[in-house]
Symmetry: C2
Subunit: 227 residues, 2 copies
């Protein structure tokens, strides 16, 4: 038998799963922007064209990868004693998982997630709201809004982390802009002490609390087909 088949593992057969696995690997290593058809194909020792047998296009691949990531978010307990606390935990857990995969949140921003894992999580979130006595219409819309907030927050974490790496350039420019023009933004200046204070999770929790607490005092949206 020829050496080549023994020296390195035989090229595994292509499959959608294998492609997604390769994509996950690239994502973990170099972030979502590195997940290109060519790069993923490279991991599998083939050319980009070969992937199109299993995946419609680059976009579909990324959406499938996103749903794989969502699978790692622990399901909330719909029968929890304190539904608001459980909502906070769910939000925090989701951001935590998204933070492990650099830039993945951008996928959820670019396409409303419809994968099975994402759907099951939304289903659980709505269940939590309904169990808490939130009206159906409010629950539907609130789930939408909260998910928008969660993904936006996770993406902002990514941006901030990337900025910390590029540091010098951008951060110094912003600081400089602030110093020289502070007089033009008196209110910003007045609250500046709080602006960049606190942990990221603290700020995230505050935003989530705004929504959860708001649910208790915001009337359910009226709707033509609602009674």
């Amino acid at each position: 038998m020829p050496r080549s088949t023994r020296d390195r593992p035989a090229k595994a057969p292509l499959s959608k799963d294998a492609i997604v696995d390769a994509g996950m690997q690239v994502l973990r290593e170099d972030g979502i922007d590195a997940v290109t058809m060519r790069r993923v194909a490279g991991v599998l020792d083939t050319g980009a064209a070969s992937l199109y047998v299993y995946v419609a296009n680059a976009d579909e691949l990324k959406q499938v990868i996103f749903d794989r990531v969502v699978a790692e978010v622990p399901m909330p307990n719909v029968d929890a004693e304190d539904w608001r606390d459980e909502m906070r935990t769910l939000g925090r857990n989701t951001v935590e998982v998204l933070d492990r995969y650099p830039g993945i949140a951008s996928i959820a921003i670019a396409h409303i997630p419809t994968g099975d894992n994402a759907m099951r999580l939304v289903n659980a979130m709505i269940g939590l709201l309904l169990a808490g006595g939130v009206p159906e219409a409010s629950a539907a819309w609130a789930a939408d809004v909260v998910n928008l907030y969660i993904t936006a927050a996770a993406y902002e974490n990514f941006i901030r982390a990337r900025m910390d790496v590029d540091q010098d350039e951008e951060i110094e420019e912003i600081a400089e802009h602030f110093r020289t023009r502070a007089a033009a933004y008196p209110n910003v200046q007045r609250v500046a002490w709080a602006m960049f204070a606190g942990e990221g999770t603290e700020r995230f929790d505050f935003g989530l609390d705004l929504m959860i607490n708001g649910l208790l005092t915001t009337p359910a949206p009226v709707h033509p087909s609602g009674s």
Copy 2:
């Protein structure tokens, strides 16, 4: 004199302003994804390399364009009788402006806006909150969260609009997925009647109300340097 200098207007000299103008034109016509260095340079009858004299890179150009767009948002009246109503108007106005420039919201998601117009708007928003009696720390964080929400909402509008154009494909797939797997998502099914109901502005207002109302009942974040 040679004809060529009379037949078509003489090539205007390059300048940062001219480049941004050209970028705005492309943005209006074909959306932010069409705003590439090559395309913008094409409008100005030159090559992409020429732009680098006035602009550091493609990213900077897009951020400047974003700030141009923000200039169109009407400034809120900080002395308004009802600050909550003024907040709602500000939010709605911002989304309205962003909606006029396809995909521009993605820029604000990818980089926290620091342009002069964006800063003046944030300054006004914080002023509105402070005038309403919101504590400094809450105002600082709430402005952050609300802006995150505004840009995310505007970007989702863009996504939805683009989906309506591509229609057939994606929308039918999602509907099919819903039909066949509805049993797996009972809560989603239960509130589905509300999910896609209502105007986009109605949903947006609801989310904004959640935050505004939440501000009245959410304690100001405690902070080490705060008293």
